[in-house]
């Protein structure tokens, strides 16, 4: 797919929504919806995506859309998909329809993990997309279990004693792959072609699929609006956010940085890591780099590289 062709495909997510200028997730949504060939039904968790795109009486969604609560996008869409299967079996509906659940990292890694795990384990034919902006942004930038170590958030504020979030993020994509679903992948809004291809695969499999898509929050990351794509790109280039897929149990890297950047280079672009560049935090910076390197090695092994 060439970019001009992608641009010609009809948009099912329109402009005029109220996400911040320079917000990352609208790019993620658009690419994923453009990859769906069938009509779609979207379910969305509470969070920035939902509250900025459906302010009554307006909506940015040109497709069927439902929001019910924060932790249950997967369960809600699993019910919709079950309804579809039932009505199709009864001959009451003939059309092919794709089902998508969107959740932020809070709605996916944390409060919605049980609902997601249940839906994946039951084998519903739906694509779950975590638009991962590495924090609870809608409620004012709190930490999630996807927030990088060292990040300044409003519940892990960088202070004199604590240098931001203490824990490394958990590896949710691997957790989803461990569900033995037909397709799980990690992608970034910065690599649109890779994301588009992965979304295509996700829609094509006969069963549940999971996409974990890094989507910059320029407010929470404290980056300039025009740097949104670069900030996500940097995470990929320094191996903080490797791009890979797990297809029928087979792990595969889909992008390998020619020469990985130091994590500090990526962090330097973002206000949320500013405090890490104080002399007293230099050890922490090293330790983060070490952890990223270890994770990268483990991933290479899993991918047979």
């Amino acid at each position: 797919m060439a970019l001009p062709d992608l641009a010609k495909k009809p948009q099912r997510f329109t402009g005029g929504h109220r996400a911040c200028a320079g917000c990352g997730f609208p790019i993620t949504i658009k690419i994923i919806l453009q990859a769906a060939e069938n009509p779609v039904v979207v379910g969305c968790a509470t969070g920035c995506m939902e509250v900025t795109s459906t302010i009554y009486p307006y909506t940015a969604w040109r497709c069927s859309f439902i929001h019910t609560a924060f932790e249950n996008a997967a369960a809600t869409v699993s019910g919709i998909e079950a309804a579809y299967r039932s009505l199709r079996r009864q001959g009451k509906i003939q059309q092919d329809i794709d089902f998508i659940a969107f959740g932020g990292d809070g709605g996916t890694y944390d409060i919605g993990l049980q609902s997601l795990s249940g839906a994946m384990e039951r084998g519903h034919k739906l694509v779950y997309v975590c638009y991962n902006n590495q924090g609870y942004m809608n409620t004012g930038i709190q930490r999630s279990s996807a927030t990088p170590r060292g990040a300044n958030t409003t519940t892990t504020p960088a202070g004199t004693q604590l240098p931001g979030k203490p824990q490394h993020p958990k590896d949710l994509t691997a957790i989803m792959a461990a569900h033995d679903i037909p397709y799980a992948a990690q992608a970034s809004m910065s690599h649109w072609n890779d994301l588009y291809r992965k979304a295509k695969k996700a829609f094509a499999v006969d069963g549940p699929a999971f996409l974990n898509v890094l989507s910059t929050c320029r407010l929470g990351w404290a980056t300039a609006p025009e740097d949104t794509v670069d900030a996500a790109e940097g995470a990929v280039q320094c191996n903080v956010w490797p791009l890979y897929e797990v297809e029928q149990g087979k792990w595969k890297l889909t992008f390998k940085p020619k020469k990985p950047l130091p994590v500090a280079d990526w962090m330097k672009q973002q206000g949320r890591f500013k405090h890490l560049f104080r002399a007293d935090n230099s050890q922490l910076l090293e330790s983060i780099q070490q952890q990223v390197d270890e994770n990268w090695q483990r991933l290479l092994e899993r991918c047979g590289e």
Binding site: Y56, C63, N72, S78, A82, Q95
Partner: protein, 401 residues
Amino acid sequence: MAIAIATQKTAALTGNEAAAQALRQINPDVVAAYPITPQTEIVQLFSTFVSDGLVKTEFVAVESEHSAMSATVGAAAAGARAMTATSSQGLALMWEMLYVAAGMRIPIVMPMVNRALSSPINIHCDHSDSMGARDSGWLQIYSENAQEMYDNLIQAVRIAEHPDVLLPVMVTMDGFIISHGMENVELLPDQAVQDFVGEYNFPYPLLDVEHPRTLGPLTLQDFYFEHKREQAEAVYRAKEVILAAAEEYAAISGRRYGFFEAYRMDDAEYAVVVLGSTAGTAKYVVDGLRQAGEKCGLVKVRVFRPFPGPELCEALSGLKAVGIMDRADTFSTQGGPLFLEVKAALYHAAGQPQCMNFVYGLGGRDIDPELIRQAFVEVKDLMKKPADGVLPIVRYLGVRE
């Protein structure tokens, strides 16, 4: 057109079995449910109907009640008739989604088997679970026995899905006492139930992809209140729909229901108001007292939401004293939930009967005829007392103090 009463089959069934039979005959498109005592049997029995191809239902064995209600909301919004069932902690876990279902005007019917809430954990009957959800926007119908559970479930489908209503309905029965007690139940033919419930027709189905709609948007200061006002209005409209459904149901079953049942109330001077299975025992007590010349009666409330305030007020007007029995407390020092509702309704009653509250049977504590008789004696005593009008009189019945 005269509708003939269908030839019914009598079967010896537990309350759970009767509920499962109603679900089989309603034959929903989707059921998403999770087991919990004493409701578990409904889910299990229904699963066997699915396994044996007796229903067309897609059964979703979810990983929690929160997901059960979420998936049921999703399925019903998609355009499928969808049901679930629960008890106690399961209902408590659904709490967030109960409000979502009602606010989104999703017409779900849910059998709810009453069981006490933790802590301490207890699997037996009281009404604290459904009473905790009494202001969630769900309609609530309470059943005295297995027959009523069956009849109420079938009527609830018509009520929930009526275009003037579009609200979820919870149909309750008392855990173990009814859910596990065996009685004779008259079952309608499958076709009669199918004809009665008709086709599911949600007005904004998500699967109608030609007409995309956004359900569950963010609604702020400019519209939220209007949405809630409309929701409140639907509950008012439900009253008429409930009575119309009862009329139609009487025509096919011969069994007639109202908002409540007034038992030997015609010339009564004092009475007791109850919910659920206790009504059976209380009727027996009333019969005995009547034989002894006592002018007493009983009111069994069937529909708790919408609360039939004016109708109850009329039924209780002219009494000298009323005792209201609650199988739940509000922990507010003001008595149980039924008491609060009935007392509020009585504010407009002619002569304002004296009233008192009996909280009883928590955690499945047995309520026997002797205890109910004791309640009647206390209510009768109340007739002689001058109105104090200060504190509510709340008695805890059948408990070690």
